[in-house]
Symmetry: C2
Subunit: 385 residues, 2 copies
């Protein structure tokens, strides 16, 4: 199945399109959700608030959504909406703000606690429409029906999914991203690469045509991240990055794959973010190569294809050698753009490895290329150290 | 803007999914629209009619939709629906049947004559939902909001567009296409290649990332058409062909392009189909190389990129030489798969060239890489002879 109902307005100055759509649906008030001060600096808040005011749409607001967003902030927003209903939720920010908005949109129409959706105790039956403005590309949250939220009390960073929480409209204006700090560009870019590789490396066969398309985007991202480190204001590069960021986890690259992808690296990384608040992209830069090293001896073929499509195309070299070379090249790339590639660099003590493994192993078995058990998970965290 | 609301069920046996969706919306009766006998031979009619019967959904039917579909058949179906209303239109066939269904879906909700939509005299305000089963990939009609219909009285083969005529659900079951005649596989494949190249060759710059993705599909199609001539029952190849066919003209490859593509070859080909009932793909095999030859001296760059990405990647050769070489390679490919590449092979008399040019030139100026005037159009048909 392929389906993606979100209306995307892409390009400079498209915030006004979003407000036109809100007006067209007759919205009179919306909940505006955002994170920190970035939206004031990059001009997004000013553009959006002016357009909403001009259209006569009220916008009570809640700021302070953190990266690795928390369920308590989501609950706060739901309580506000239940007390003073609105016609739509308007996230203004990156993936964390979009993810939170989705949980709010569903939670505001549900009588129980929103965490039920994340635990699979309840399915979304209804949700407020989401009209979002993206200011940091990475998660594809702007064009999917997935929300990932942390619940520190339960030691869980998990996702909810529903066709009802796709944003109705998303604005992707790359010019709002030209002031992103380098670290965020790097982490977001690694997230995008991971979303692509988690499909490309799932071991499915007969996916050549989709793989070729996916690998063009991986190569683009490997070109774009250094270009943006060099010149953060390069609009063309920001635009390509933003479009790749939307496509990567929109579901498009799951098409044709029986299992739709192997998201083990994300699962293993979520534990780092949950327990040590490691930025999402950094967690992937550490965990994806470790996952690959653990699996590549038994399953060299997908990693050999990575070598051929993205790095060097060797002659007379075995798949095993190509696979190892690809993983090394990927780690080299992460290091070159300044990302950590070991738990040590994240200042996570070696003594905590078992704790990490115990947390992640709660979800075992998981994974497609290989279904990981608790022993695999421990081994991977050891390799990541 | 990027938006595509169609729910696609892809794979063997997915017709039942379509009927589930009809049931879910509470449909009690649908108009079933099809072309010739193919749907009885390939099993699609049997599967669909059994599933509809089992679900208790009535399906009055109209067969006989022709390739290069005619407005009179559309009017016949609209009259039937107005006399006996249905809940949805169900095209069962290829692009012609889908295109007709879209015109019926909109025309059945309109008080005037449906041709008004094609002449731009009216905009679609409402349309019945379309739930379609694709049995021949080529046009992407299964995932877009475009319908192309011929009106012989007005000597016009033109399109209507509306967000309201995207199919709500489309089933793409590649196993229904394994019995397609070779000529149709070839013509459909050329249509798919043309939809891709009409974007890739529009002269837009700064579209590198989207171009790379598009060229992977062009290369796939150039591999797949001969594979399917060799072995028409190759399911994997049929599946790749069908997915490329859906993506090519879904709007996805227009993303990032200021003009969204240059559809001159289609416009020039429509005249051949209208006046001589030339199959759509064959008309493109003739007109696209002629269009390219007319433009490549003045604009060699896009054609040189075609050479590099699809055919040979020469060293020390000028863009002009690469461009000519690419056009020759494209023509060679069309010939190898048995498609005509000249008007002469279509038995169109040389004396009719002016008539062709006069018909097509009614739409002048058109085109993006170059805005063609009547003189250009005449010159292109001469080159095509």
């Amino acid at each position: 199945m392929w389906w993606n109902p979100t209306i995307v307005f892409f390009g400079k100055g498209t915030i006004t399109k979003l407000v036109e759509q809100l007006s067209a649906m007759g919205a009179r008030s919306v909940l505006l959700l955002y994170g920190g001060k970035a939206v004031f600096k990059n001009g997004a808040y000013a553009q959006l608030s002016q357009a909403l005011t001009k259209a006569g749409i009220a916008f009570p607001e809640i700021g302070g959504v953190k990266s690795n967003p928390r369920i308590d902030k989501v609950r706060e927003a739901i309580a506000r909406v239940k007390a003073s209903p609105v016609d739509a939720i308007v996230p203004l920010g990156g993936g964390s703000v979009f993810d939170s908005a989705k949980a709010v949109a569903a939670g505001a129409c549900y009588n129980g606690d929103v965490w039920d959706f994340f635990e699979g105790k309840a399915q979304v039956q209804k949700a407020l429409p989401i009209f979002g403005v993206l200011t940091a590309s990475a998660s594809s949250s702007e064009v999917n029906g997935i929300a990932v939220v942390s619940n520190p009390e339960k030691e869980a960073k998990v996702s909810m999914n529903s066709p009802l929480i796709y944003p109705k409209v998303s604005v992707i204006d790359p010019s709002l991203q030209t002031s992103l700090p380098e670290r965020q560009t790097v982490n977001g870019g690694i997230d995008i690469i991971a979303h692509l590789l988690e499909r490309l490396l799932d071991g499915d066969e007969g996916t050549e045509m989709m793989d070729e398309q996916g690998y063009t985007l991986v190569r683009s991202m490997i070109r774009l991240i250094p270009e943006l480190i060099e010149d953060p204001k390069n609009y063309e590069a920001r635009a390509e990055y933003a479009w790749a960021g939307a496509m990567a986890h929109s579901g498009f690259f799951s098409c044709g794959r029986a299992a739709r992808g192997d998201f083990s690296s994300h699962k293993l990384g979520h534990t780092l973010s949950l327990l040590y608040d490691v930025p999402h992209g950094a967690s992937l830069a550490v965990m994806m190569p470790a996952w690959a090293r653990h699996l590549c001896e038994e399953n060299p073929v997908p990693f050999a294809r990575l070598a051929e499509n993205v790095f060097d195309n060797f002659d007379d070299v075995s798949d095993e050698e190509k696979a190892l070379s690809a993983i090394e090249s990927l780690e080299d790339f992460f290091r070159e753009v300044g990302a950590p590639t070991t738990l040590r660099e994240l200042d996570i003590p070696e003594g905590d490895i078992q704790k990490l493994a115990d947390n992640a192993a709660k979800a075992c078995p998981f994974g497609v290329l290989k279904a990981l058990n608790a022993e695999d998970v421990l081994e991977i965290y050891k390799l990541a150290y």
